[in-house]
């Protein structure tokens, strides 16, 4: 094998791996990215049932109930629109009424939201920034809690 052929072989392998990586990223981008919506967004943009989204807002006071089979049900509101969320699982330690929450899952045909993940804030003063934005857009931001950061994620409950 000549030097030229050898170099060509290395470049071919490198390009093949690059193509593999780019291809996988583009493919994964198509349907594994989850958009964040407030309850108002969900109503305005008519989010289709079955599409995976993140729904964020405040947990409506007095709406949390634990059903007999262990599932939880609560309302997420941005003071304009309210959506009922059902979740089979143990709510995170920091989940509380009238505080920020993000539920990930999909809308059902009946307009309620089935969550498979519920994320609550990390500490007393923290409010998920998406929720802050959603409340601001809804004109209901009262400036409580910490300033919004560019935070994008927090774990289930809280994160180590």
């Amino acid at each position: 094998m000549t030097r030229k052929q050898r170099r060509a072989a290395f470049i071919a392998v490198g390009l093949a791996i690059l193509a593999l990586a780019v291809g996988l990223v583009l493919y994964a981008m198509r349907d594994s990215i989850v958009f964040f919506y407030s309850p108002s967004d969900v109503v305005e943009r008519e989010v289709a049932p079955g599409q995976r989204i993140r729904l964020g807002g405040l947990v409506e006071t007095g709406s949390v109930e634990t059903l007999a089979d262990g599932a939880a049900r609560f309302n997420v509101t941005d003071m304009v629109e309210t959506i009922t969320v059902s979740y089979r699982g143990i709510l995170p330690d920091l989940f509380r009424e009238n505080q920020g929450v993000i539920a990930e899952g999909m809308l059902l045909e009946d307009g309620t939201f089935a969550a498979d993940t519920v994320l609550a804030k990390h500490d007393e003063t923290y409010m998920p920034p998406e929720v802050v934005d959603a409340l601001k857009r809804g004109g209901n931001w009262q400036g409580e809690g910490a300033e919004a950061s560019h935070a994008e994620t927090y774990g289930q409950g809280s994160y180590p």
Binding site: M1, R3, R6, A9, F10, V13, G14, I17, L18, L20, A21, L24, V25, Y27, A28, M29, D31, S32, I33, V34, F35, F36, R54, T66, L67, A68, D69, G70, A71, R88, G89, I90, L91, D93, L94, E104, H122, D123, E124, Y126, P129, E130, D133, A146, E147, S149, H150, A151, E152, T153, Y154, G155, Q156, G157, S158, Y159, P160
Partner: protein, 662 residues
């Protein structure tokens, strides 16, 4: 007074680090031995001063001196002793002091054990290392001073975040930092080599132990963090593709690539500039991780305080070191002489493919981690790149890599016989196939991909074992001869086999947990039972108990398998009055093949409690595998060749020869 001494020591350390940055670099440039000689003692003095500062901080936590703001914010007199100590780094300021302490420790190690390095290289390495210390000491002193006093001193501290009140806090951050900071060492070597304009076998020989030490520390740190998340978060997951986790994974992957390419640079003199680039990128990603976690760009328990000033400062450090080193690389790397040509099918070629795949995997993780942040920064839509993205990108790339791993050790340098390697791996392939069939037979109701994952795991373990078997000529010579050969084999070979095998065990664990998890969630009154994967779980009682600084609701859950009693678990919900927070403690029973994992939830009306339980198949193997990998790294580190610093021609050394060439 002690606190003030600590503060003073930290500022002195900054002054020493500045001297250590400037003088040796100048000395190396002018060939002035006196100036270069400053580097060693300065590195030791810097370590002594930073240690003093750290000790002063620890002392304030130990005696609960709440006139120190940091202790007031993060400690409490009723907190158990271990959390008082680990609480020192359970916060932003203290953790940065730990960062600098480890940085100084690595620098001092080069000063102590690097006497046989060429003078100029040693001076430049210590100078670059000190420049990193300058940046971070400035960061601490200017934006994150841990020694701020409160007047009047509060009577009681506000306590540590309950999630951090865990034994793992004593180990996870120090190991992780040792890994991050360990890459500062390879970075310093790379930058020093670029300035020198020379990379030779002895340089690569010097870099390898540091790359290995950093890699094994990071492996332990990541594994411990994952284990911590597993048992403390209450939903039995071990990896969440959270940006903070990705931030530690990226340097690990690039560090793994560095580990392998440094071998080629040492043994064959090829891939030199690529190795330098990897060393630069590994540390850049460590810095990026520090930036993501410490700046408040991401919010998690890892981000202790959100302060834009700090974020901008770290961003400045990041830009300076990454930009500076890459610019230096672009300018100087073309001057390096390349050597050691090799055929595509060869040990070098295999390691190059390993590197390309690892780089591609890093790129995928990098993209998935930073894309949402970038989109948000330009006011685009708010999106989340979740586990699905990483499962579709990182996982396939890694599967290709793992399939190729067992081939590497069977390929000879320069030109190899792939057919011969394949023949030697027939047994491993057969075992993998049998394992796949067994997995289909016993776990037929799981996802169809899972048995393939198990086959991959067995392929890795059996492949690693095959390499050792061929090396010691097992069964082809008398057993005593094989034993003698095993003893004579270099430790690096054993280390490699263990690391590759440990990887296989971890893969099995990951496949098991992902594919064969059984899960149930029910509301139970005391006395009631539920079924989970052949086990009967009975909630026997729920009671209250007081801990040292919390009160807990404890459930007693009895686990039976048929008529046989298995275990009694006590999952808890703890309330920390000082911190006004709750924390879930899972009850976990393991038989080393699978875990039964029970979490106690809220009251579900009429004297019932929500109980969530999982059967996590093969879960313990994830961390066992990780530990075996780390042990492999440690054994490699004790290899004679890595301890002997004097340059030895690779060709004349027995251990350098691969099995296939014999």
């Amino acid at each position: 007074m002690i606190v003030e001494i600590g503060h003073f020591a930290l500022v002195l350390a900054l002054a020493v680090a500045i001297a250590q940055t400037v003088a040796p670099m100048l000395g190396a440039y002018r060939r002035d031995a006196a100036l270069m000689a400053i580097a060693g003692p300065a590195a030791l003095l810097q370590l002594a001063l930073v240690s003093l500062a750290f000790a002063a901080l620890t002392w304030a936590f130990l005696v609960s001196d709440f006139s120190l703001k940091l202790a007031y914010d993060n400690s409490h007199s009723a907190k158990p002793l271990i959390y008082k100590i680990s609480g020192v780094w359970g916060n932003h300021e203290g953790s940065m002091v730990l960062w600098v302490l480890i940085l100084a420790l690595f620098g001092a190690m080069v000063a102590l054990f690097g006497r046989n390095l060429p003078d100029t290289l040693r001076a430049r390495v210590l100078s670059v290392q000190a420049s990193i210390a300058v940046a971070f000491l400035l960061f601490i002193v200017l934006t994150s001073n841990p020694f701020i006093r409160l007047d009047p001193a509060p009577f009681e501290g506000t306590g540590l975040n309950p999630l951090l009140q865990d034994r793992a806090l004593a180990f996870h951050p120090p190991w992780l930092y040792a890994g991050y900071v360990g890459y500062s060492m390879t970075f310093s070597f790379a930058v020093a080599a670029l300035i020198e304009g020379r990379v030779d076998a002895s340089w690569a020989r010097w870099v390898r132990p540091w790359a290995l030490a950093a890699w094994l520390s990071l492996t332990i740190g990541i594994a411990m963090g994952s284990w911590w998340a597993y048992y403390t978060l209450g939903w039995g997951g071990f990896w969440f593709w959270d940006p903070v986790e990705n931030a530690s994974l990226m340097p690990w992957i690039v560090g793994t690539a560095l580990l392998h390419s440094a071998i080629v640079a040492e043994k064959r003199g090829a891939l030199k500039s690529w190795t330098l680039l990897l060393a630069i990128i590994a540390f850049s990603l460590s810095l990026l991780g520090t930036f993501l976690v410490r700046s408040g760009v991401l919010t998690s328990v890892h981000a202790f305080a959100v302060d834009p000033e700090r974020g901008i400062f770290i961003l400045g450090i990041l830009i300076f070191f990454v930009g500076g080193s890459l610019a230096l690389y672009a300018w100087r790397a073309p001057l390096l002489k390349t050597g050691g040509i090799f055929a595509p099918v060869s040990r070098e070629g295999a390691l190059l493919v390993n590197n390309l795949l690892l780089a591609a995997a890093t790129a995928a993780v990098f993209f998935g981690t930073l894309y949402p942040l970038l989109l948000d920064a330009v006011n685009g839509p708010k999106i989340t790149v979740g586990p699905t993205f990483f499962n579709l990108t990182f996982v396939p790339i890694f599967v290709v890599l793992l399939l190729l791993v067992p081939f590497g050790p069977f390929l000879g340098w320069k030109r190899a016989d792939i057919q011969g390697a394949a023949e030697r791996l027939m047994v491993a392939a057969g075992l993998a196939f049998v394992a796949m069939l067994l997995a289909y037979a016993f776990m037929w109701d799981g996802p169809w991909l899972a048995p393939l994952g198990i086959a991959l795991a067995v392929w890795l373990v059996a492949g690693a074992a095959s390499e050792i078997a061929w090396r010691i000529k097992l069964f082809s010579v008398p057993l005593t001869e094989s034993m003698a050969r095993a003893r004579r084999s270099p430790r690096a070979a054993w280390g490699m086999a263990l690391a590759h095998g440990g990887l296989g065990i971890a893969v099995a664990g990951i496949v098991g947990v992902t594919a064969w998890r059984a899960e149930t969630i029910v509301a139970l009154a005391p006395g009631e039972s539920t079924q989970l994967a052949g086990y009967t779980l009975t909630l026997e009682a729920v009671g209250m108990r007081d801990g040292p600084n919390f009160e807990a609701t404890t459930g007693v859950v009895r686990i039976d398998r048929g008529d046989r009693f298995v275990a009694r678990l006590m999952p808890e919900k703890r309330r920390f009055p000082a911190e006004r927070q709750e924390k879930t403690e899972a009850g976990i029973h393991t038989n080393w093949l699978s875990d039964i994992y029970v979490v106690l939830g809220d009251v579900a009306g009429e004297g019932k409690w929500v109980v969530r339980a999982y059967r996590n198949a093969l879960a313990p193997w994830i961390w066992i595998g990780g530990m075996i990998m780390a042990i492999g790294g440690a054994i490699s580190l004790t290899d004679r060749r890595l301890r002997v610093g004097a340059p030895v021609n690779a060709k004349t050394h027995a251990g350098a020869r691969p099995v296939a060439a014999e």
